[in-house]
Symmetry: C2
Subunit: 208 residues, 2 copies
DNA sequence: CCCGGCATCAGCCAAAAGGCGGAGAGACCA
DNA sequence: TGGTCTCTCCGCCTTTTGGCTGATGCCGGG
């Protein structure tokens, strides 16, 4: 049996080096390449077609992890993409799964969990950390709390600190409509004021 | 010459393991212990009185990095504390320096920079990444934009989505005073509304 | 073809937030 | 002692926001 080949994508050298050290302890797993950005990852996968791509979502400048996943999937369906990141925001999870990620593991996971995720991904199985799975269930159970595209768009601008008037101009809708959307958003997020909505959006929904 | 002993504090195993691998390549630096939380760090430093403590600021549950630095400094002035973290938010930097950190290095720094920081800290010198130094200068140049302790406290609660009334109750001050503080905060942050203030606070000031 | 969800808009009213000027007490420093 | 900060508080007025009710057009599934 050939070992599982892995491509690491993370903008932090320490993380890559730590991951390599960890994975190196497993005889059936080999790190064949590393990349510090989405761009590098796309290039690296040409040279080293790995079985599993472990990817961070937040990567400083340039292409973000989600975009990188999409392009990787487009370029070739050979390798499975495993998200390996710090945060478990609802929005990130949904977007990653949507982009075609096979698994979602948090950086504070135990080594065994990480190994299991890599092996699972290599076999085409979905693996995710408990908190991540729990969030996904949450969403499935309460579809009433899922924002519509328009609401999400508005919320995103809201976190930029715009007033109702400004939101209206930006989205080419009347202030009245802005208010209606806001009322719906508040209900779905479980808040009463725009201030709280912004706080929730940035922290929970990951709208940075 | 004895090698420099280092204690690593970070809640992510991958980061600790990567850092250990990196520092291990330097003959004059030895990692003598690791800790995954502020509490563990305080205990570990008793067993292994290291020359330098490398500490992350964001550490999930429990004591945060700033608090850990303060307690470490109280417990013993022997070791130098070097902050090693992902973000360079103004608030974090100021608070860390205030708590007694000797240096501030970002996780995306080059290995040489990390080594230099460890050696510097061991010799009692201050070392910080360029972006960090730049932010500090910024603050020195514009002291008008630095929040007072009370203002920072209020802003922190503001990002929780509280109303003026709630802020007043929480801080045992009148709503009028809350408004006064807010006006000052808005001026310092360069915004006009509480929504924008929250956005800036969470993103720029790192008040998560 | 009707119903439900979505997006759009209106008007009314109460509450909250924000702008402005003024002011006193305590701390700290030159 | 005088000047400067910081924190505290007041009143008055305008703007913004949020709650409520109701309505229209569009689209897609049953």
């Amino acid at each position: 049996m050939k070992p599982i080949s892995v491509l690491l994508v993370d903008d932090h050298l320490v993380v890559r080096s730590g991951l390599k050290a960890l994975l190196g302890t497993q005889p059936d797993i080999t790190v064949v390449a590393e990349a510090a950005s989405g761009e590098e990852a796309l290039a690296a996968v040409q040279q080293h077609p790995a079985d599993v791509v472990m990817m961070d979502l937040a990567m400083g400048e340039g292409m973000d992890g989600i975009e990188a996943i999409k392009r990787l999937r487009l370029a070739s369906k050979q390798q499975a993409v495993l998200v390996f990141t710090t945060y478990d925001s609802d929005a990130d999870i949904v977007r990653a799964v949507d982009a075609g990620a096979m698994g979602y593991v948090l950086k504070d996971a135990a080594p065994e969990e990480i190994f299991a995720a890599v092996r699972g991904a290599a076999q085409g199985k979905s693996v995710m950390s408990a908190p991540v799975a729990s969030k996904l269930f949450q969403q499935l159970r309460n579809p009433d709390e899922v924002l519509t595209p328009r609401e999400a768009e508005l919320l995103s601008l809201l976190t930029r600190g715009l007033s109702n008037r400004e939101l209206g101009k930006r989205l080419f809708i009347s202030e009245a409509t802005v208010k209606t959307h806001l009322a719906h958003i508040y209900a779905k997020l479980g808040v009463e004021t725009r201030a709280a909505a912004i706080a929730v959006a940035i922290r929970r929904e990951g709208m940075r």
